[in-house]
């Protein structure tokens, strides 16, 4: 018996930085995967006990129930400002925001751009699901041309609604930014890449390299009106064309 126990090795389990609370996300939603990757990165860097997360207003508003770290709420779009406040008074803490595209690139655009431009030493996890998930699938700044949402029933039209905002490209011109990468969680290979990017965004903060943001293309099957499988296909075939994956800036590697 004893010999047998010795042979047992834990190869997979719940990261310590995640609680056991069951997620309220829809089946096939990308948020759950991304939460896990963030938690794994926190665990692997051994920073859980000095990490403070900022939850957004959006589907991830309950992130505080899922992350096993100190968490603060922030008004819609203000997580980078709240994170700035925390980080400036306690620079030894690891501060991250977790935000949707409405939160980060519409109502919170100013907070995002200026935190990035100041080079705030924080980590931003940006979940791009091309719509407003929580409020029922309205147009987001990242909604792609032609995409139908509850507020673009005829499809997004550039003339009326403008163009999808490409956050990594937009922020890449700012000197204060240290690291920008766009990843996806549509297949195991990309999940592994996403994990590497997220971990790096935290490592950068530990090494005081400044503002790091990882944009994650994430499936929202329910509000897209698709099956989880079709949603993955839509990420691959449609979203990735508008939002190409890759590293958009990496000051640290220069």
């Amino acid at each position: 018996m004893e010999a047998r126990e010795k042979e047992l090795r834990k190869v997979y389990g719940k990261p310590e930085a995640l609680t056991s609370t069951p997620h309220l996300y829809c089946p096939g939603c990308g948020h759950g995967i991304i939460h896990r990757l963030v938690a794994e990165a926190i665990d692997e860097l051994g920073v859980r006990e000095r990490t403070i997360g900022i939850a957004p207003v959006g589907c991830a508003v309950f992130a505080y129930d899922y992350f096993n770290v100190d968490v603060s709420e922030a008004p819609h779009g203000r997580p980078p400002a709240v994170a700035t406040g925390i980080k400036r008074v306690s620079p030894e803490k690891i501060v991250f925001t977790y935000q949707g595209d409405g939160d980060l690139a519409a109502i919170g655009t100013a907070e995002t751009v200026h935190a990035a431009n100041r080079g705030e030493n924080i980590t931003v996890i940006f979940v791009n699901n091309a719509n407003y998930g929580m409020t029922g699938g309205q147009m987001a700044p990242t909604t792609i041309i032609g995409q139908k949402t509850t507020t673009t029933p005829f499809g997004r039209e550039a003339k009326r609604d403008g163009y999808p905002i490409k956050v990594c490209e937009l922020l890449s011109s700012l000197e204060g930014v240290s690291y920008l990468e766009r990843v996806a969680v549509n297949n195991p290979k990309n999940v592994i890449k996403a994990k590497k990017a997220i971990k790096k965004a935290f490592e950068n903060q530990v090494a005081e390299k400044g503002f790091s943001l990882v944009e994650v293309l994430s499936q929202c099957p329910v509000d897209w009106g698709m099956t989880p499988k079709d949603a993955i296909k839509w990420v691959e075939e449609t979203m990735m064309k508008v939002f190409p994956l890759g590293v958009y800036k990496d000051k640290g590697s220069i």
């Binding site: 403070i52 096993n68 100190d70 968490v71 603060s72 709420e73 994170a83 406040g85 400036r88 008074v89």
Partner: protein, 351 residues
């Protein structure tokens, strides 16, 4: 030793003495001395100064610094304070201490840059959304700018609630000698028992700061808890000054710079043999309703003087409860109510 300083500088120094660890602001006249002075002093002291990209960002930075357990403040003037309302509502809901100073200017809209008292309603009736209350202090001298800034931090921590300093461009800009406190508080220390701060979950369960309470009944429970807190503020934190009210036939009620002017007018009336007195609310919320009510004896008349179209006068009328006539003398648009006018009104009311 007394120092001659501007009101806005006294405000900064009071905050610094109270151990303010972080200041976040955005330029707007007539409070520009505050970020300018803080940008120097806070950096010299090794504390945090940051010019934010907007008042929205500034108040949310305060929210973050406060969540991390430190004393933090922001300041602005009327249009900027409108932008801070979102943050104030969240601070109240999340029960986070913070100090917000409003060096009022004329409005609505961009208005002008002269001193004004047009934001009384916004400050005391809840300019942000939701059922919340906030202590509002109304300094009327440079010394009080210093003292109230200090007091505001104490009250904010005591109640885990935002506190507003509501003053105006005149008090902010005028120069007077002030007496500073002997000892400054250490900005690194966490005052009061802050067992709620977010400082990493080492050796304890993770903590959460939020205002969102979706489960049935939870928000109502939270509202009731807040109500208890607001009730204790109402009973314990009312501050006012009264001058010659004992035998007064005419009681002037004014706050801030208007009270300065009213004081002189009341003194002049006394010299002329008119029994006039003054009640100066020092806290606008909680309002000194009880004192005003006790003063509302038959045969008396009230005169409310404000630099607006009539805001505090509504609270005075509520407190007087119809027992005495309440007259109003107001000057909107950034002009000072003048001493002679108040005096003449007192004279006319004497009949």
């Amino acid at each position: 030793m007394k120092q001659l300083v501007k009101g806005n500088i006294a405000l900064c120094e009071g905050a610094i003495a109270a151990g303010c660890k972080a200041y976040f602001g955005y330029p707007i006249t007539p409070q520009n001395e505050v970020p300018a002075h803080m940008s120097k002093r806070m950096v010299e002291l090794g504390r945090v100064f940051l010019q934010a990209e907007s008042e929205l960002a500034a108040v949310n930075m305060v929210l973050g610094a406060s969540a991390a357990g430190y004393r933090a403040m922001t300041s602005s003037s009327s249009p900027g304070i409108s932008l801070k309302q979102e943050g104030i509502s969240y601070l109240a809901g999340m029960e986070l201490p913070a100090v917000i100073a409003n060096i009022q200017r004329g409005g609505p809209g961009l208005g002008n840059i002269a001193g004004s008292q047009a934001d009384y309603f916004q400050a005391v009736k809840g300019g942000g959304h939701g059922d919340y209350r906030m202590i509002v202090l109304a300094p009327y001298s440079v010394q009080e700018m210093y003292d109230h800034a200090y007091l505001a931090f104490e009250l904010a921590d005591k109640y885990r609630n935002p506190v507003m300093l509501l003053t105006d461009g005149v008090v902010g800009q005028m120069m007077e000698p002030i007496e500073a406190r002997a000892g400054n508080l250490d900005a690194e220390k966490k005052y009061f028992n802050k067992d709620w701060v977010l400082d990493g979950c080492a050796g304890r369960k993770p903590r959460l700061l939020r205002s969102l309470l979706m489960a049935e009944g939870d928000l109502e429970k939270h509202n009731r808890e807040l109500e208890k807190k607001y009730k204790s503020m109402s009973s314990d934190e009312v501050r006012f000054e009264s001058l010659e009210t004992d035998d007064a036939e005419i009681v002037v009620v004014a706050y801030g710079i208007s009270a300065r002017v009213a004081k002189t007018a009341v003194k002049k009336a006394r010299q002329e043999g008119i029994k006039a007195g003054l009640i100066r609310p020092v806290t606008l919320w909680p309002f000194p309703s009880k004192t005003i009510n006790e003063n509302a004896r038959s045969g008396r008349k009230f005169l409310v003087a404000e630099m607006n179209l009539g805001q505090m006068v509504e609270d005075v009328k509520l407190a007087v409860s119809g027992r005495c006539p309440v007259e109003f003398l107001g000057r909107p648009g950034g002009g000072l109510v003048n001493e002679q006018e108040i005096f003449e009104n007192i004279q006319a009311m004497k009949g």
